[in-house]
């Protein structure tokens, strides 16, 4: 099948790096926008900090992955563990 030979835009590592840089850009932009928007209609004081959600999101995500990774040491078994 000629499908297999076809190269896709994402196959080039340069383009993946480009995407990651775009992500950096978007995060930077959201950080800046946070200074102007995070004051209206909030329930808690900390919600009005310009990057509260960004930082909390980053930390939460990392925490979830790292804890999951440690859990493997305790919980991981062979794939056929329950098979007789």
């Amino acid at each position: 099948m000629d499908d297999e030979k076809k190269t896709y835009w994402l196959d080039d590592p340069k383009n993946v790096t480009l995407l990651v840089r775009v992500l950096y850009g978007v995060c930077g932009l959201l950080f800046v926008v946070g200074f102007f928007t995070m004051s209206d209609h909030v329930h808690f004081d900390w919600e009005s900090w310009p990057a509260f959600y960004g930082i909390y999101g980053f930390l939460s995500f990392t925490f979830a992955v790292l804890v999951g990774k440690q859990l493997r040491k305790v919980l991981m078994r062979k794939e056929d563990y329950y098979d007789e």
Partner: protein, 562 residues
């Protein structure tokens, strides 16, 4: 016609599916939910249908604003599932799918506990066939475990109803609240089906073993019916706030390391139920609205995600993250629909999850549940991890597995396309959803701080993913089984029994040997007594008999004159 309870047409109609073949069957099956839905829409507000049974008046149908939300979305789910499963030729699945949907619809409109119990049981019995339909030894065993939990829930419900009716004399299915033995048992029954922590194992055990279409059916009904039941009977029960918060958080860690992507979705489903349970626990108009709205949106995006993974399973024969990757090259449409599902569940602005989850988060904040609020925001980042990124990334992008297959069949793409469109429509026009919620609430999810805050949460989560991937910290996808609480009854308890077997064998043989020696003793005694020279074996002599007769006559004589 108009006096029939909602879902009744679907219920009866599903039994007739095997009479049709080919295109007629497709047309008939699509018409069923449509007709049933039109019938529901034609019922007047406040419609009830009563039935006399022995001493009780059963309210088989009660249409109100709470049951209506679930009634609408369950019909929609049946319709989408029928489209998605148009390739299925197995009559067991063709009947049990719509029947399962009809049972769930019947249950949400049941106005008394007895009819509710019957429908509750019917959802269990009809759905287990969607697991067994995989027709493997593994699926059979999983189905049995599933059935034990489901029927266990039914038994708890029945016992609870009996106690409750004994206490109060009422069979009405309204707000009950915990406190008495009866209502506590009912609460426990709902807790099982709602997959509360430590009662959740059946969910992540069984859904990934169902057929490609079966898992989509299962994802829609059972647990959301339990959410409805909790909202109906236990709204404002404070414990639910904390139970729900735990439910949102703990599945995240399991989802990170799970390799089977349909099992990841099952953990994710459990986590989403947590948000709804928190909303029920808070119990304000806004939070109950949040729960209803979230159940509505959740059924759609969760079905969409299960459909996309089902399509991958259908085409490649596996949904293991370790075996997949790069499938966007072969299945671009499925990949696109999966991404829409992922963005909806992650609650991106303009997607459905955003407009429903924020109601629950706002309600938690307004009622000053600070710790719970932090857990829910953490869990929102966790959703981004397992459903927002992991599912699409490891199936369709990431490392190219080299698998080249055909795109999903047209009817699957159609079902996914409609579901995806609904996810976006609900996100863009939330008023349409808010209009059918049980309470009238002025709420806008689209304030600038909320939109920017949510975008920050999601994009910085992606940033964390990019950082963890590029630095090699992110755990690799490995073929593995991860222990969950079900290890207790799948391994430890059977293991304990095996370990105790020698003691059991000793006790048993002692019992048997002891019994045997008693038998031998009795037999020996009998043989001695009945032998020719034994007490019973001896032949009586004539003189003895004469003496005996004389004695009897003497006694009679005395008695006669006395």
């Amino acid at each position: 016609m108009s006096s029939l309870p909602p879902g009744f047409l679907l219920f009866l109609g599903s039994f007739l599916v095997p009479l049709f073949r080919g295109k007629w069957r497709a047309a008939y099956m699509l018409a069923l939910p449509v007709m049933s839905f039109l019938h529901l829409m034609g019922l007047p507000a406040g419609f009830t249908h009563e039935l006399e049974l022995f001493d009780y008046t059963l309210t088989v149908a009660r249409v109100d604003s709470l049951s209506m939300v679930w009634g609408v979305i369950f019909h929609l789910a049946v319709f989408l599932n029928v489209i998605y499963g148009l390739h299925v030729k197995d009559n067991v699945q063709l009947v049990c799918g719509p029947l399962y949907g009809a049972a769930a619809i019947g249950a949400v409109f049941a106005g008394d506990l007895i009819s509710f119990f019957l429908f509750w049981e019917l959802t269990s019995l009809s759905s287990v066939f969607l697991i067994w339909a995989s027709r493997t030894q593994r699926a059979f065993r999983t189905g049995m475990r599933y059935l034990i939990f489901q029927v266990g829930s039914g038994v708890a419900l029945l016992a609870g109803v009996i106690f409750h009716v004994n206490d109060t004399g009422s069979i009405a299915f309204d707000h009950l609240g915990v406190g008495t033995l009866g209502t506590n048992l009912i609460f426990f029954a709902f807790a099982i089906k709602c997959a509360f922590p430590l009662l959740h194992m059946w969910l992540k055990d069984s859904y990934p073993e169902a057929t490609t279409t079966g898992a989509v059916w299962l994802s829609a009904f059972t647990t959301k019916l339990a959410v409805y039941a909790l909202a109906r009977a236990f709204a404002g029960t404070e414990a639910l706030i904390y139970i729900g918060a735990v439910m949102t958080a703990f599945p995240i860690f399991f989802a990170v390391i799970e390799n089977d992507l349909r099992r990841v979705l099952s953990y994710s489903l459990n986590n989403q139920l947590g948000f709804m349970v928190v909303g029920i626990g808070i119990g304000t108009a806004m939070s109950i609205n949040g729960t209803a709205a979230h159940a509505f949106c959740h059924i759609l995006y969760k079905a969409l995600l299960f459909m996309s993974m089902g399509a991958v399973l259908h085409r490649t024969g596996t949904v293991k993250a370790s075996e997949l990757g790069g499938l966007y090259k072969s299945m671009p449409w499925t990949a696109a629909f999966c991404v829409i599902g992922a963005m909806s569940i992650s609650a991106f602005p303009l997607f459905s999850g955003f407009v429903s989850k924020s109601l629950i988060l706002s309600a938690a904040a307004e009622n000053h549940h600070i710790v719970v609020w932090f857990v829910l925001v953490f869990a929102s980042a966790g959703v981004m991890e397992h459903s927002g990124i992991k599912i699409p990334y490891f199936a369709f992008f990431g490392h190219d597995s080299g698998i080249r297959c055909k795109e999903a069949p047209p009817h699957m793409l159609l079902a996914m396309g409609i579901t995806a469109a609904l996810c976006i429509l609900l996100g863009v026009f939330p008023e349409t959803l808010y209009a059918i919620l049980p309470y009238k609430v002025e709420y806008s999810a689209y304030t600038s701080s909320h939109v920017v805050g949510q975008l920050q949460l999601l994009f910085f989560s992606m940033l964390a993913f990019a950082f963890l991937m590029r630095s090699g910290i992110y755990p690799k996808e490995l073929r593995s089984t991860n222990l969950d609480f079900d290890v207790v009854y799948r391994r430890w308890i059977p293991g304990l029994f095996r370990a105790l077997a020698p003691i059991g064998r000793f006790l048993w043989s002692t019992l048997i040997d002891g019994g045997k020696s008693i038998v031998v003793l009795v037999m020996g005694a009998g043989r001695t007594l009945c032998s020719p020279r034994g007490f019973f074996g001896r032949t009586a002599q004539t003189r003895n008999t004469v003496l005996e007769v004389a004695v009897i006559l003497a006694v009679l004589l005395i008695l006669y004159y006395a």
